[in-house]
């Protein structure tokens, strides 16, 4: 889907926007995925309203995922490297927040105490993002190579925390089994499973330099490097798993929150 003329029109009515020179083309699947994350963000925020603070962590986390995904639609996304690096850090912060929420939930099932304030979560999130901005600002402007390293680090954080979250959610389910909300919480296992597939296969492609970002670098800098095995079946499988995992994780998050919403209404 070609959005070039739409953005060019935007630059005419909003004069301070930089001109668009390159074509802006999106996959329909990317748009659907971002729409899913948007719906998930809206429902999770609505869900956290008036609820315990651990849902605040989870909802801000899911909102930041949407934010990070939506940022990639921005036609200037690849023009401002520092901003792109900050968004990668925001991606890592989002899964940290979600994990924090589920760990607080597990703690609640053990102690039946709900402590802490929502304000602390908001301030800690802002603090983490500000620290990320300072970190990126104090260092040299990231190159495309550095940005790729950022993404690898982000995927690693996502992969391992999602695996941990699967175990935490299973433990929570074991503790609250029999309560009306138990099956809704269990659905998060599916969400994190799809995230593991999504981020894990992406990390796998990056580790063996089979990812599109590396291929772009090879072309752009005219490297005479051939990533061995790039035409193999594993690359095709991992690429498909990454796309399917991303789509299914967005879809499962929407489904899970809708289900939870029904359970607690």
């Amino acid at each position: 889907m070609d959005f070039t003329s739409f953005f060019q029109y935007l630059t005419t009515i909003i004069p301070f926007l930089p001109k668009i020179y390159n074509p802006v083309v999106y996959n329909a699947s990317d748009l659907v995925l971002i729409f899913f994350w948007f719906v998930a963000a809206v429902i999770s925020f609505y869900f956290s309203y008036g609820n315990a603070r651990l849902w605040t962590s989870v909802s801000i986390g899911f909102f930041l995922i949407f934010w990070g995904q939506a940022y990639l639609l921005n036609p200037y996304a690849s023009s401002y490297f520092r901003v792109t690096a900050v968004h990668t850090i925001i991606g890592a912060v989002s899964i940290l927040l979600i994990s924090h929420g589920f760990q607080e939930y597990f703690l609640f099932t053990k102690t039946l105490d709900i402590t802490g304030s929502k304000r602390t979560i908001y301030l800690a999130t802002i603090g983490a993002i500000v620290l990320g901005i300072i970190f990126v600002s104090l260092n040299p402007k990231p190159s495309l190579f550095v940005l790729r390293n950022y993404r690898m680090a982000e995927n690693t954080v996502w992969l391992f925390l999602s695996i941990v979250n699967i175990f935490v959610v299973l433990k929570i389910y074991h503790e609250i089994k029999g309560s009306p909300i138990a099956n809704g919480i269990l659905s998060f296992v599916l969400v994190f499973f799809f995230i593991v597939i999504w981020k894990g296969s992406e990390l796998y492609l990056q580790l063996y330099q089979w990812d599109p970002a590396w291929q772009t670098l090879v072309e752009e800098f005219d490297f005479n490097i051939q990533s061995e095995g790039i035409d193999g079946a594993m690359v095709k499988i991992a690429t498909t798993m990454s796309s399917a995992g991303a789509m299914l994780s967005g879809l499962s998050v929407v489904g899970t929150f809708a289900y939870l919403f029904k359970l607690v209404r």
């Binding site: 709900i114 009306p180 607690v264």
Partner: protein, 319 residues
């Protein structure tokens, strides 16, 4: 301090100062406990043995003097009122192990501190088996104690003073038996010694507790001890029965609304409130309901919580 085998821990190191004895004993009764409750005071100990919620034996030991059953219960009430330190522990056992522990507490001493090297251990084990003894064989040295638990002559478990639970392996107890100076005690019960009684129906703990609480320095009120022939149909005072029933009903409501955490949540908030009777106070009831509601929002829907709150309020009105 008693060394009793540790089973499944149900309550551990609960401060006695915060304990409401009648409520705590009601919970053990209503929860159909098979196991033991141990009160560990600085200078005395008390063990209560339950079988399916029936209080079948009580042993109080202070200053090397032992009191049993009704006398021990009265002494326990006094001790709790007079002492503000100590801990309360509850362990669940299988029925077989429970009988062996009962033998340890109230059994006949078949062997009393016999030197292990002076007896034929193999013969002793055969005797236990042939006579189908329900017993505990205790092997002691100055540093260690090990136990072998028997039910109808069959070994049902092993325990030693370093173990956290009853074990299936005799290794540690065998090790203690090889230490120099090891002695053997064998305590056994026969048939259904004491198993059919329910001391909680014979001794009115609530009345003892209330009178002791009224004036800790006054002589304790005579306990309402029922004669054996009256045991068949004891009629506890209506208020006492009512509190326990209301508490059970509240737990059942919470369980139905919130799942298994409902019971834990109600238990915890009742402890914080100061027991079921404290809910007669309107402000305490409101605090209790708010506390339960606060945690419930992570477990159930708003409508369900509202229904639960109303149902609990209705139950509390019966107090």
């Amino acid at each position: 301090m008693f060394l009793l085998p540790k089973g499944k821990p149900l309550v551990e190191n609960f401060p006695i100062a915060k304990l409401q004895l009648p409520e705590a004993l009601d919970k053990l009764k209503n929860g159909k406990l098979t196991g033991c409750a141990i009160f560990d005071f600085p200078a005395s100990d008390c063990a209560l043995i339950y079988e399916e919620g029936r209080l079948i034996s009580v042993l109080m030991r202070r200053n090397k003097i032992e009191e049993k059953d009704a006398d021990a219960l009265r002494a326990l009430v006094d001790q709790i009122i007079l002492t503000d330190s100590g801990s309360f522990n509850v362990y669940g056992f299988t029925k077989d192990v429970n009988q062996a522990v009962l033998a340890l507490i109230r059994g006949v001493k078949v062997l009393d501190r016999q030197e292990l090297k002076m007896i034929d251990f193999k013969n002793l084990r055969e005797r236990i088996k042939n006579e189908r003894m329900t017993a505990t064989l205790k092997i002691s040295t100055d540093q260690s104690v090990g136990m072998i638990l028997y039910r109808d002559g069959e070994t049902v478990g092993f325990f030693d003073d370093t173990a956290d639970a009853i074990e299936n392996s005799p290794a540690k107890v065998q090790q203690i038996a090889t230490l120099p100076g090891a002695t053997v005690d064998l305590m056994a019960i026969r048939g259904t010694d004491g198993v059919n009684q329910d001391l909680s129906a014979q001794v009115n703990i609530r009345s003892l507790w209330a009178s002791a609480k009224g004036d800790v320095f006054a002589a304790p009120e005579p306990a309402n001890v029922f004669q054996p022939q009256a045991v068949a149909a004891p009629q506890p005072p209506p208020v006492a029965a009512n509190s326990a029933e209301v508490e059970t009903a509240i737990i059942a409501i919470a369980n139905a609304s919130l799942g298994k955490l409902g019971k834990t949540l109600v238990d915890k908030e009742l402890l914080n409130a100061g027991g079921i009777k404290a809910l007669k106070d309107e402000s305490k009831l409101r605090d209790f309901l708010n506390a339960v509601e606060k945690s419930s929002i992570l477990l159930a829907s708003a409508n369900k919580i509202k229904e639960m709150r109303n149902a609990i309020s209705l139950e509390v009105e019966k107090l």
